[in-house]
Symmetry: none
Subunit: 207 residues, 4 copies
C-alpha cells in the first residue's frame, strides 16, 4: 500500500501523483487510503518516512563493521554502499530527490525537518571514530573531509546519471565502477595525505 504510493510519488512527484492511481495500483478502496492516512499530504509524508527508514536500515545492516577508521577508506566504502542503494531502491531514491526539490509549500517544512534529522544522524555516524591523522598538516581537516564527501557524492551522481536508462548495466559493471571510484579517491588521497605513510588501508586499520 505504501509501496504503491512510493512508486507513484517517485514517478510523478508530489503534485503530479494521483491518489486514484495509488489505490488502483494497491488494489484497495479510496476510502481505506484516507481512512489510514487522512490526506494526500500525510500519505506522502508516510511514504517519505518509509523511504528514509528503509534506506537507513539497509545501510546499517550492510555497512561493514567495524567501520574503516581511515577517512578515505570510509568514504570509498560508504560511497559504494550508497551507490548500491540507489540501484537497490531506485523508486525510493527518486522519491527522496523529488521530495527535496519540488514539494509544495504546504509540505515543505515537514519534509525539511525529516531530512535534517536524517542528515544530522548520518553525519554523526560518519564521523564516529574516524581517523583524520594522516591529512597533511597544512590542510584544514574539516575542509578536507568535506571535499572528500562532496567529491564522492558527485561521483555517485555521475554514475547515476550515466546509468540512468540502463540500471542493469551498473550491476554488471559494478566492479569496474568500484575500481574507478577507488582510483578517483586515491588521487584525492595522494593530494591530502602526508608523504611516506602507508597508503593502503589494511595496516592503518590495525594501527
Amino acid at each position: 500500500m505504501l509501496e504503491a504510493a512510493i512508486r507513484e510519488f517517485a514517478e510523478k512527484g508530489y503534485g503530479g501523483a494521483s491518489t486514484n492511481a495509488i489505490v488502483r495500483e494497491a488494489g484497495i478502496s479510496k476510502g481505506l487510503l484516507f481512512h489510514y492516512f487522512g490526506s494526500k499530504k500525510d500519505l506522502f509524508l508516510a511514504a517519505l518516512d518509509r523511504c528514509l527508514e528503509v534506506q537507513m536500515d539497509y545501510f546499517l545492516r550492510n555497512v561493514k563493521t567495524p567501520y574503516p577508521p581511515d577517512v578515505i577508506d570510509r568514504v570509498i566504502e560508504w560511497g559504494a554502499l550508497k551507490l548500491e542503494m540507489v540501484y537497490r531502491f531506485p523508486l525510493m531514491h527518486r522519491l527522496l530527490l523529488s521530495a527535496l526539490l519540488e514539494t509544495p509549500p504546504e509540505v515543505r517544512p515537514e519534509v525539511e525537518r525529516r531530512f535534517a534529522v536524517v542528515a544530522e544522524r548520518s553525519w554523526r555516524l560518519f564521523l564516529e571514530g574516524i581517523d583524520l591523522s594522516r591529512f597533511r598538516d597544512d590542510i584544514d581537516k574539516a575542509k578536507a573531509v568535506e571535499l572528500l564527501v562532496v567529491a564522492m557524492e558527485g561521483l555517485q551522481r555521475k554514475y547515476v546519471e550515466r546509468y540512468r536508462d540502463r540500471p542493469a548495466d551498473l550491476i554488471r559493471d559494478a566492479e569496474r565502477v568500484f575500481a574507478e571510484v577507488k582510483e578517483y579517491m586515491e588521487i584525492m588521497r595522494h593530494g591530502l595525505y602526508r608523504r611516506g605513510e602507508p597508503m593502503a588501508s589494511g595496516p592503518a586499520r590495525l594501527a
Copy 2:
C-alpha cells in the same frame, strides 16, 4: 507570461503545476495561453527552453574572457559564476532541477534532448583551450578534470543547501564563500599538480 509559467513549474513541478494558476498569475486569458502554446507540455518545454537560454546567455555575457587557461582557475571561476546564477535565477534553477527528475514519460524525451545539447555545448566550452599540462604525470588527466568538476559541483550544492532559506545572506557572504571555494580548490591543486611549479594562476597563464 512565460515568467508566470516558469514560477509555477518551478514551485510545483510539471504534474503539480496548474495552467489555471499560470493564467491567473500572468493576468491573461485561458484561451491565449493555449493559442500560443497549444498544450501544457509545449508550454513547459517553452519555459524550459527559456531557462536554458537565459542561463546560457547570462553565463556567456558574464564569464571573464579570455577564459583562464589553467583548469583549476577555470573551475573556480566558472563554478563561482554558476553559483551566482543559482541565486540570480532561483526559479529557473529549480525548474531545471525538477525537469531533470520528475518529468512524466510524455515529456521526458524532449527534455533530455535539450539537456544533452546544452551539456555537450557546456562541456566543449569548458575544455576549449584548457591547460592540463600541470597535472602530475602519474595522474589520469581526464579523471582529474572530472574530479575537479565533480567537487566544484558538490561545493555549489553545499552552499545552495546552506543558504536555501536565506538567499540574501549568500550575497552578503559572497566574498567569503568565494574565498572558501578557492581554498577547497587549492587543496585539490596541491594534490593534483606537480610540485615546484608556480601555484598562482597569473604567471601560469603567461607561461
Copy 3:
C-alpha cells in the same frame, strides 16, 4: 442556473444540497458552476442574495402606494402581501428559512449580515410615514407596534403551516384568509386604539 440552486438548497438545506444535483437540474457542466461561483458556499450566498432581492423587488412592485398611514391598516396589507409571497415563491421562502437556522458555521456570518441589512431596510420602510396617533395614550407605542407585527407574523406562520401540504388551497381560500386576518387585527385594533375614533382606514388615510 441559480434557480436550480435555489430549489436544491431549499429542499435539502445547505449541508444536504448537492452541487451534482444542481448541475444536473440546471443542465450545465460541473466546471461551469464553479467557474461562476467558485465554491458551494459562494453559490449558496448568491442564491440567498437572489432570494432576498427577488422578494424585496416583488414587495416593492406590488405594495399599494401610498402606503396606508394607519399602522394597523399597514400591518394588514403588508402582512397579506407577505403571505402571498410565501406562496408565490415557496422555494425562496424555504431557502430563507433554512438559511436562518441551519447554516454551518463557515457560512453563518455572511448569511447573518445579509439578513441584518434586509431586516433593517424593511423596518425603516415599515415605519416610513406611519401614523401611530390613534393608539391609546396609556400604551407604549413602540411595544404596541411590535405586538402588531409579531402577531401578524405569527398569523402568517399559522396559515403557512395550515396550508403547507396543499398550497393551491390557500389561493382558493385567499379571500377568506384575508378576511380572517383582518378580523384578528380588528380585535387588536379594538384593544390598542382610543375609543370613539373612526375605525375605518379610509378617512384616516386622507387625514
Copy 4:
C-alpha cells in the same frame, strides 16, 4: 451518544450531518452506532424523539401547578417557561426547528407524525381547565386565544433572535424580559377583556 447526534443534527441539519462526525464526537465506533440505530434516518428519529421527550418532561416538571386558569396568565407563564427551555436546551431547540423544515422526503412523514402528536397533546394541555370567561362578549373566543398564543410565540422568537449570539445575557436579563413579556400581554389583556373586571390573576383564579 444521542447527545453527540443531537448536536450534529442541530448544527448541520439532517443532510449536512455526518455519522462520522457523530461517532468521533461520541467516542464510539462506527459499528456500534449502526448496531444500535440501523441507519442515519433511524438515528435522526431517535434523536428527535429524545428532544421531544426531554422538552415535554422538562415542561411538565417545571410548569407551575395548578395551571393558571386565566388564559392570559397561562400564556404568560407557559410562554416564559418555553422561552427558558430554548436556552436550557439550545441544541434540541435547533434540532426541532430544523426537523420541521429541512427534512428530506424519506424522513418527512415520520417527523410530521411525531410533531403532530406532540402538538395535539400540548394544545389539549393548554386548554385544560382554562378560563375564557373574561373575554369581551363581542369577541370570537377561539380567535382571541389564537391571537394570544401567536403573539406570545412571536415574542419568544423576538427574544431568541435578539439574544442569539449571547445566550448568557438572556439569563442575566431574564427578569426584565419576563416583565416586558407581561407588559405586552397586559396590553393584549386590556383589549381582549371586559372592562371593570379585576385584572390581576389571583382573585380571578378563585372566581
